[in-house]
């Protein structure tokens, strides 16, 4: 009997080690994608490295600290434990990153052509379609997803890393690793995923549409925009206030022109420091128990569907807008509405140049591109308020 138990334990351990070995390989794969293929290296390098660290048998990077009866620290926790629990579980790191992204975002193209916000709205359909996909997998008992899981998976379609991490850390912390990896990987793969869909849904003539040059934008407009956005969030969508509030703070620091030293630090030292630790913390969720699940396969599958549907929705919305407007938009810029800033805008530009070598869509695509960030933050707010309790 004891021998059997020992055997079981052994195999249990060896099975665990097989899982860890596999996860070490996943970590190396992420590093390969980051370093050699240039897949969102700022995030995937720390995530991949964190994946390796957390799967080193016996290194205890994720160990919780142990306190004695008097409350003194008997054994300190692993560094990834501290990073995850202070920075990600609390939501602090994604929010600081979002402040930094706000400080790096130029709303000029959006302000010059605000109706492109509609493209950013339409592309969020990818999110909710994916929710339905996950729900169907759950309903038919293929994969056991709850509604909270489905919502967190859907947000991959937002193509926005901090938003996805923020939502997943609240709604489905067990799936956080897979969701973050899917989000960043597919964001990096936007140049592969999007063009076929864009070409399939547009005619050559549509892709050749040249757009009017954007009007110059006054400084005051740039200053008022984050405040306007903040007030609308405050009045109508408080559940999106953490994400969009921090985003608006970063953008206001950037545009106000009176706190340049704060904006500069936010765009550089602060966002860089937090990015490293956010990546490591996400990596700490890529452990064998939580990642080597059939759910992960489902997430990877649903994630790419989300990107595809979001791209298609953006393009179709642009075509719809052209039916009602005299100022035609090139439907390619609709694909930038998924966000994945600034990759998706560059893709729109590139596909546009293929059809018309004199047609520079980059600045036009930046409008829906940043609109997509707002759109998915709004969607995140809805999910947190509907599913979060």
């Amino acid at each position: 009997m004891e021998a059997l138990l020992g055997l079981w334990a052994d195999s249990g351990i060896s099975q665990l080690q097989a899982g860890q070995a596999f996860m070490l390989a996943i970590g190396l794969l992420l590093l390969y994608l980051a370093i050699k293929r240039g897949f969102e290296p700022l995030l995937l390098l720390p995530i991949g490295f964190g994946t390796i660290l957390v799967n080193i048998p016996g290194a205890d990077f994720n160990a919780a600290p142990i306190y004695d009866a008097l409350g003194h620290l008997a054994s300190p926790g692993g560094i990834l434990y501290y990073i995850y629990h202070t920075g990600i579980e609390t939501g602090i790191f994604p929010l600081i990153i979002f402040m930094g992204v706000g400080a790096l975002t130029d709303f000029g193209p959006l302000l010059a052509n605000p109706k492109t916000l509609l493209l950013g709205a339409a592309a969020q359909f990818g999110i909710f379609f994916t929710v339905i996909g996950a729900v169907l997998l759950g309903t038919f008992n293929i994969i056991d997803f709850s509604i909270a899981d489905a919502a967190a998976i859907g947000i991959i379609g937002g193509a926005d890393g901090p938003t996805a991490i923020f939502v997943a850390s609240k709604l489905a912390p067990d799936l956080l690793g897979a969701i973050a990896v899917a989000a960043y990987s597919y964001m990096a793969m936007v140049p592969i995923i999007q063009p076929p869909i864009m070409r399939a849904l547009t005619t050559e003539a549509e892709r050749k549409i040249e757009m009017q040059q954007l009007r110059p934008v006054a400084r005051a407009e740039r200053v008022f925009f984050p405040l306007l956005l903040l007030l609308l969030v405050a009045l109508f969508l408080p559940s999106a206030a953490p994400l969009l509030g921090m985003f608006c703070l970063g953008n206001l620091m950037r545009e106000s022109g009176v706190v340049d030293r704060l904006a500069d630090t936010t765009q550089n030292a602060l966002i860089n420091i937090v990015t490293i630790f956010l990546g490591l913390g996400v990596g700490s969720k890529l452990n064998a128990e939580q990642f080597l699940e059939v759910k992960t396969l489902g997430i990877l599958l649903l994630g790419i569907v989300a990107f595809a549907i979001g791209t298609a929705s953006g393009v179709l919305m642009a075509k719809l807008m052209n039916k009602f407007s005299t100022h035609k938009v090139n439907p390619l810029i609709g694909a930038a509405g998924v966000s994945a800033v600034p990759m998706a805008a560059r893709v729109a530009n590139k596909v546009g140049l293929e059809a018309n070598p004199h047609n520079f869509l980059l600045m036009h695509a930046m409008g829906p591109n940043v609109a997509g960030v707002l759109g998915s933050a709004v969607a995140a707010g809805v999910m947190l308020s509907v599913v979060g309790n």
């Binding site: 790096l104 130029d106 916000l117 509609l118 929710v131 509604i147 954007l214 008022f224 600034p342």
Partner: protein, 86 residues
């Protein structure tokens, strides 16, 4: 009566997409009004350069700084040369 998972998902989709659209439509309206107000009451406030993607997400301020510096140096050299050639 309990809702099925599918019902919950569909409700989330309808409510979610609805909110996203309404919110962004309201934002379009308010932004347009705000821009008009600004252009009416503070029309002289234009920046010298239109939006540039160099400063969009991902571009670092340091890079921009260095570029500006190189521009400044080039300009200094040009000016110098121009003065010399007189």
């Amino acid at each position: 009566m309990e809702q099925t998972l599918l019902q919950q998902g569909l409700q989330l989709m309808l409510f979610g997409m609805g909110t996203v659209f309404i919110f962004l439509v309201v934002l379009i309206a308010c932004t347009t009004l705000m821009s008009r107000a600004v252009l009416r009451f503070a029309p002289a406030d234009f920046p010298p350069v239109v939006t540039s993607n160099a400063t969009a997400q991902g571009g670092s301020a340091q890079k921009a700084d260095r570029t500006r510096l190189i521009v400044a140096i080039t300009a200094a050299l040009h000016q110098h040369r121009a003065r010399r050639d007189k």
